[in-house]
Symmetry: C2
Subunit: 219 residues, 2 copies
DNA sequence: CTAATGTTTTTTGTATACAATATCTATTGA
DNA sequence: TCAATAGATATTGTATACAAAAAACATTAG
């Protein structure tokens, strides 16, 4: 019994565009040419319009009056803001994990960072990047909060804040992750939340510091 | 020099629909008839489509394949989740206020709850509801986080979580607000954030308790 | 050579037509 | 009486046409 495919063209265009943004085929600030798109994808402008509007609503795109749609570009200040937003949401998520997640799920979370020994080599570094991503995703998943989960999958903010690689070296974030897992096992929501918030705010600080350094260089 | 009106029809339809949802002209779960709408608003289906897609992206509406658009209805579980989300975001917002807000803004925040004496009468109760709304809105506003501000204005989640009246009596929430203001004045971000989170989680708990009671009644 | 102007081309925003699908209504049969 | 079916109606999803605005280009004047 295969899944019934009853999707409308709008949805297909929507998903295609999301992938193109994620893969960097469409870059921040880039203009979307509707006519060109409709030719490439072989559909009329109507489903293109619908998909673009939806993506604008989700903040993947930005609509400028009479100029069309552009891939949303985030300013430095906004990127900083995204760290804070993520800290807020994942902080609450990990607290809720302490309340709601099953022991199996917490076990699963703790296994994310098993078997790492420092310093990392090229391969294990990639593994760490992956583990990091998985861990933070699962925290939201297992929080039991369906809204957070939906947001993390459909909000341009969340996807964007997930796209950047590591802002801090694994040596620095590893113990923080371990501490969070410890708090999870203790079902200490308060502590877990605080750790997660600090985790993201530290990354924010490092990111911001890099920015000001960069500015000085370019002047 | 008046503001240049260069708005496109889509935007006008979008704003109109948002007001209709906010005012309860369109109720949760209700189906949106595109043809009817286009007749009422005197525009073609194209701008209607665009506005509906955008609103779906912002979670004000929900699109069901081949059935059209419906005003998004939130389940009890989702409403609970909204309390948690709000706690997360406003918790971070008030922390950022401690970091960033000017003394003037903090003064302004503290004035929100000045002059209330309990028990409230019918008039002062309404004043309190208003003060509550204003306070929480300004916390996000003065956090200096433009993403949180944008979210609070354009996300169906945030608007929805703001629409419900008070879940707890003013007598109960007043001292919590006072405590938050105190933390703001002390620029104690950690404390302020914790107070805000607890504030919303308490509301969540009361809301959830009311739900289970209601269920028992209806059985 | 650059700035300003006018012209052409492109692209958007909007309206409209229509087939496919879903919904509603009436009819039939158990 | 109710369920199931068939037919009629309404609504969606899609394609297409076109005016108006923006962008690109060419031309002229300083």
């Amino acid at each position: 019994m295969s899944k019934i495919e009853n999707k409308i063209l709008t949805d297909l265009v929507y998903e295609k565009l999301k992938i193109m943004i994620d893969d960097g085929v469409l870059t921040p600030g880039q203009k979307i040419n509707k006519l060109e798109l409709s030719k490439i994808l072989g559909v009329s402008q109507t489903p293109i319009n619908d998909a673009l509007s939806r993506l604008a609503g989700e903040k993947f795109l930005e609509q400028r009056s009479r100029q069309g749609y552009f891939v949303r570009a985030f300013s430095d200040e906004e990127l900083v803001a995204l760290f804070e937003m993520r800290g807020a949401l994942e902080g609450m998520a990990i607290r809720l994990c302490c309340e709601n997640a099953s022991s199996d799920h917490i076990e699963e979370l703790s296994r994310c960072f098993e078997g790492f020994s420092f310093p990392l080599n090229e391969k294990t570094y990639m593994d760490y990047v992956h583990a990091d991503k998985t861990f933070h995703e699962k925290i939201i998943r297992y929080s039991g909060n369906s809204i957070l989960w939906e947001l993390s999958r459909t909000s341009g903010y969340m996807i964007k804040s997930n796209m950047k690689g590591l802002t801090r070296p694994p040596e620095e974030t590893y113990p923080e992750h371990v501490a969070m897992i410890q708090a999870l096992k203790e079902r200490n929501g308060d502590k877990a939340q605080q750790l997660m918030i600090q985790h993201h705010l530290r990354s924010r600080n490092v990111f911001r510091a890099k920015l000001t350094k960069k500015e000085l260089n370019t002047v």
